[in-house]
């Protein structure tokens, strides 16, 4: 069963009294352990699709089902609970809380869910991203790459089935970007999480299992990647 199933989704916004269609009949499924990249120009609907997939927003038409639960049928409290248990987010600008240490940032999703004894799990995730020795540092004491690794640890600390990453390497140098992409690959492979990643980088997309190209709110291309796909020109 797909971890997230997006079916015939339409998303419209109102901009200056005229409706703007951000997504237009998009359907997509991501299986457990599958790593899907969303590529396309700015404004093509990548982030909108991520928000819908993460139950942060509702489609104007169509359905979004996360791990068997139809988001349209859930109220705000149930959606929050769903996110807490099953969804993790990684952002372009890391979005670590500046007032918390690395470990405290990682503990946050567990604490928001009301869980106790969270330090050991946070340290374990920091170990996974090789940031355990930086556990007590504050964000401003870390580099961009280190911050994003902490953010990844935070996004997986509660063992989500779905990880949504919005331009996770958009703000990193190439070396750090490489490290982050490898980490995400491991999350999919070792933890079995379904990952949906929006990116501008076709280079980064090569590491994913499936590439979905969006254009003007529609899926223009869907391609399985792998050893053969790497040879396919994507640009």
């Amino acid at each position: 069963m797909a971890v997230v199933s997006i079916r015939e989704v339409v998303k419209e916004y109102r901009a200056q009294d005229a409706p703007v269609r951000a997504l237009d009949g998009v359907s997509l499924e991501v299986e457990a352990g599958e790593f899907v990249s969303l590529v396309g120009r700015s404004g093509c609907g990548k982030t909108t699709l991520l928000n819908l997939a993460g139950a942060m927003d509702f489609p104007t038409a169509g359905r979004v089902v996360i791990d068997g639960e139809d988001t349209a049928r859930l109220d705000d409290a149930a959606l929050t609970a769903l996110r807490r248990r099953k969804v993790g987010f990684v952002f372009q600008f890391f979005q670590l809380l500046p007032t918390l240490t690395a470990a405290e940032n990682v503990e946050l999703p567990l604490q928001l869910a009301g869980e106790s004894d969270v330090r050991a799990r946070a340290l374990e995730r920091l170990r996974l991203v090789e940031m355990e020795s930086y556990a007590d540092r504050f964000p401003h004491q870390l580099s961009g790459g280190q911050m994003q690794r902490v953010a990844i640890a935070r996004s997986i600390v509660h063992g989500p089935k779905l990880l949504l990453a919005d331009e996770p390497i958009g703000n990193l140098d190439s070396t750090s970007a490489e490290v982050v992409m490898q980490l995400l690959r491991r999350v999919a492979d070792e933890l079995g999480a379904a990952i949906l990643m929006a990116t501008h980088s076709l280079e980064a997309a090569k590491i994913t299992d499936t590439l979905v190209r969006l254009r003007d709110g529609r899926i223009e291309e869907r391609r399985r990647l792998g050893a053969a796909a790497e040879r396919v020109p994507l640009g």
Binding site: D76, T80, R84, Q95, L97, G114
Partner: protein
């Protein structure tokens, strides 16, 4: 000009786009200005343009002749016979209670037949007339329009303890007589007034009109013709003396009214500081595009000036409205503690408008100076900086703490200095230094306390408490200012609470010792208006003859003038007082010994306020004009007294009778035989004295009423406090709103990470609660220090009262709980806003 347009776009527009916050800041300044304006206007109306009711019919006379207890009317004959063209207007004065309305009004006895100056006044165009043709002058009265609406009616007046019937011969209207309002007065012929007031053959004062065609040193001429003890003073002296007496009271209120403005200053500082933090990149761009540091500084000062000006305009209007209520409250205090007064009109003068403008705009500019300087220091390179930096929060915490310590030390030194005149200038300075010290220490306190309290907050409030505590410490630049503002308001609340509570407790203890009699009698009516009403001495004798009565202490009070200030002269049975009442002496030795000495010669004791005001201590001599001579009196001691701020000189009744032989009494303290029923004796006195209007209170009732008056007196103080706290809470709401707006992304991330809307709401409310708690803690510490300054320095130097320190625990707990709840409530709207934020929009804003 175009440069200003750029500044308007960058700085002015955001103010308009953030109307709630801008509105809250303007409202905070407006409230501060309003309170200053209201107290200024009301102070002037109820005290500044103060005119004692006794002064009402002063008219255009130049001088007046007075004496303690009045003087023999034959003296007028001596004056009239002087070989000069002087004109004289004799009068007796007192008060009457209008039985129909219960109002107490001044009564004047004028020589309607022989006083030529009255015609002079009528010739001056006044409407009032005294047409007494065919009238029985014994029963005719001319009454102000507020007392009697039409002539011919019967008017029942209680004068002293008797009710008398009069016929209204004429109604005094409008500006009335001799250019002074006569709405609330009653005028009788002098002979009728002398009889009614129990002043047969005596006059209270003679007003003197100097001749226009002759010049001389008229006071000297008059003095030469008068016996010792009679005083010649310029007209209006009493009003001037009263104004002087009220000086300290008005100063204290004025200083208290500045409190809201100080709290408002914190908030302007915060608003501008937030503005600087938010717009650092824009400032960088401006600097890169050629704006000078001066331009930037000026732009931010202009922003503050706009907020200050808007606050001033609103504050002026609000102040005018608040002044009405303030006049009422202030008049009550003036009336209760000082002197009978008739509040004047509230007048807004250009000088007051200027005061308001200086208060509003000046304070805004001063408080914006530091953030504006910070803005001017932004380097053009910061145009490229991403994100926002807090307002230099972490910098110089230790240095500020050290400065705070130094100022606290200076405050301690200032509190040791004596007053300047009767104004405790150094006391105020000590209070201001303490406030500044606390403001400087606020950053250290907030950082340390929120750091230490993080774990506790987590345990108590979960992750929301933890995050709230961390963010309070992280946004130190803003939160410390907020804590500074609310703690200042709280500190004043605590200090005034402790001061008033201590004063109240001191008065209660004092009453316990002092008020030992079982019954107290005085003429019925408003004692705050008619302070020197008298009762027939025979009444005292009759009461003393009752079998249930063990003793009666006869007390007589006279108004006196000492050292250019009004005071009271009181005479009682010193020996009885020593045996029965628990009078306590500040100095002079054993109370019983002092009081037993008092009847043996020209001795007095003085109250503490009198001693402090006039620097008269044990062994000192004072000279009082009594019964036509200057009497030298030795002070045997200084006693604690809380009845009047003007101070009192107490003499034995028998000794006073040698100089002023009028046996009438002002009040009686009746001591009953053991086992006698006070209520029954009270009823018996009433039954045996039909026709006498007496106020008879049992011991318990008198105490209850006294403490009720005490509480009413401080109503205005509490009103000012409430405004200061409101300003602080408004500011807090505005600042929390700013924090929410600036932390939109952080809040959105929390939502992405699984925080529910309820958790976000709880987070913001926890922050506001935490800020409230920190403010209350700091405010209570500062308030305690301030209360010491208030009790032992400002109050003592202003009013001369010794107050024993006392914690009014219940009152403080209630007040602090109120502040805490208000601070949490200040977070309600920001919390609602935060919970409703669209996380998608907020997270992607960059």
């Amino acid at each position: 000009m175009s440069r200003w347009r750029v500044f308007y776009r960058l700085l002015g527009r955001p103010l308009l786009h953030d109307p709630v916050r801008t509105g809250l800041t303007v409202l905070a300044v407006a409230l501060g200005v309003a309170v200053v304006v209201a107290i200024d206007l009301a102070g002037e109306a109820s005290a500044g343009s103060f005119r004692s009711s006794m002064e009402t019919l002063t008219g255009q006379a130049d001088l007046e002749v007075t004496a303690v207890g009045g003087f023999d009317e034959r003296l007028l004959g001596d004056l009239v016979r002087l070989p000069h063209n002087l004109a004289f207007s004799p009068r007796v004065e007192g008060f009457a209670r209008v039985m129909e309305t219960g109002a107490t009004v001044p009564v004047f006895g004028l020589d309607l037949v022989g006083d030529a100056t009255l015609e002079r006044a009528q010739a001056g165009g006044a409407e009032s007339t005294f047409d007494f043709e065919g009238m029985d002058l014994e029963t005719a009265v001319w009454a102000g329009e507020a007392v009697a609406a039409e002539p011919g009616r019967t008017l029942r007046l209680q004068i002293n303890d008797r009710v008398l019937e009069y016929r209204v011969a004429g109604v005094l209207r409008g500006e009335g007589f001799q250019g002074v309002s006569v709405r609330d007065v009653v005028i009788l012929d002098i002979a009728a007034a002398q009889r009614a007031l129990g002043k047969l053959g005596r006059l209270d004062r003679v007003q003197v009109y100097e001749p226009e065609d002759e010049s001389a040193d008229w006071p000297a001429v008059l003095r030469a013709a008068l016996p010792e003890g009679a005083e010649v003073v310029p007209i209006g002296s009493a009003a001037e003396e009263n104004r002087k007496m009220l000086g300290a009271f008005r100063w204290n209120l004025r200083v208290l009214s500045y409190l809201s403005l100080i709290v408002g200053a914190f908030l302007i500082y915060n608003t501008i500081a937030v503005s600087v933090v938010r717009r650092r990149p824009e400032i960088g761009v401006l600097r890169a595009l050629g704006a000078t540091r001066g331009d930037v500084r000026l732009a931010f000062l202009a922003e503050a000036a706009v907020l200050g000006a808007a606050g001033t305009v609103v504050g002026l209007a609000l102040g005018r409205i608040l002044a009405n209520g303030a006049v009422e409250l202030m008049s009550l205090t003036v009336q209760t503690l000082y002197v009978t007064s008739a509040p004047g009109r509230i007048v807004i003068t250009p000088a007051r408008l200027l005061t308001a403008a200086v208060a509003g705009v000046g304070v805004a500019l001063l408080s914006a100076w530091l953030p504006a300087k910070e803005a001017a220091a932004v380097a053009p390179t910061e145009a490229m900086a991403r994100g926002r930096r807090d307002f230099e929060a972490g910098r110089g915490v230790g240095r500020r703490l050290a400065w705070g310590g130094l100022l606290a030390l200076l405050a301690a030194l200032a509190s040791l200095a004596p007053p300047v005149g009767s104004i405790p200038v150094f006391g105020y300075l000590a209070a201001v230094l303490l406030l500044a010290a606390s403001a400087l220490a606020a950053r250290w306190f907030v950082r340390t306390a929120s750091g230490l309290g993080t774990r506790l907050a987590f345990r108590l409030f979960g992750i929301e408490g933890f995050l709230g505590s961390r963010s309070v410490a992280a946004a130190l630049g803003r939160t410390a200012v907020l804590v500074g503002a609310l703690s200042t308001a709280t500190a004043m609340l605590v200090s005034i609470g402790v001061m008033v509570g201590s004063f109240r407790e001191t008065v209660l203890v004092w009453m316990d010792r002092q008020l030992r009699a079982d019954l107290f009698l005085r003429p019925a009516g408003d004692p705050a208006t008619d302070r020197y009403a008298t009762m027939d001495a025979a009444l005292a004798d009759a009461i003393e003859a009752l079998p249930e009565v063990a003793a009666v202490d006869r007390f007589r009070a006279y108004p006196i003038r000492y050292d250019g200030m009004p005071a009271n002269l009181g005479a009682g049975d010193a020996r009885l007082h020593g045996e029965r009442a628990g009078i306590r002496f500040l100095e002079g030795g054993d109370a019983r010994q002092i009081l037993s000495c008092l009847p043996t010669g020209p001795y007095v004791v003085v109250s503490e306020p009198f001693a402090r005001k006039h620097d008269v201590w044990t062994g000192d001599h004072i000279r009082l004009p009594l019964g036509g001579r200057e009497v030298d009196l030795e002070n045997l001691g200084v006693f604690y007294d809380y009845t009047s701020e003007r101070g009192a000189v107490i003499i034995d009744r028998k000794v006073l009778m040698q100089y002023l032989p009028d046996p009438a009494v002002s009040s009686l303290a009746v001591y009953l035989e053991p086992g006698a029923d006070a209520e029954a004796v009270r009823d018996e006195i009433v039954a045996r004295n039909p026709g006498r209007e007496l106020y008879i209170a049992t011991n318990g009732r008198l105490r209850t009423e006294a403490i009720a008056i005490f509480d009413r007196t401080f109503a205005i103080t509490w009103a000012l406090e409430a405004v200061a706290v409101t300003v602080a809470v408004l500011g807090m709401a505005g600042a929390l709103l700013a924090l929410v707006i600036d932390r939109k992304r952080e809040i959105a991330v929390l939502r992405f990470l699984g925080a529910s809307a309820g958790q976000i709401r709880k987070l913001i409310l926890t922050e506001s609660g935490l800020l409230g708690l920190l403010s209350i803690t700091l405010g209570t510490a500062l308030g305690t220090a301030l209360s010491l300054v208030l009790i032992y320095v400002i109050n003592k130097q202003s009013f001369g009262w010794t107050i024993q320190f006392h914690w009014p625990v219940g009152l403080l707990l209630a007040a602090l709980t109120g502040v805490y709840l208000a601070s949490v409530a200040a977070g309600l709207y920001p919390a609602r806003l935060a919970a409703r934020l669209n996380p998608i929009e907020a997270a992607h804003e960059e």
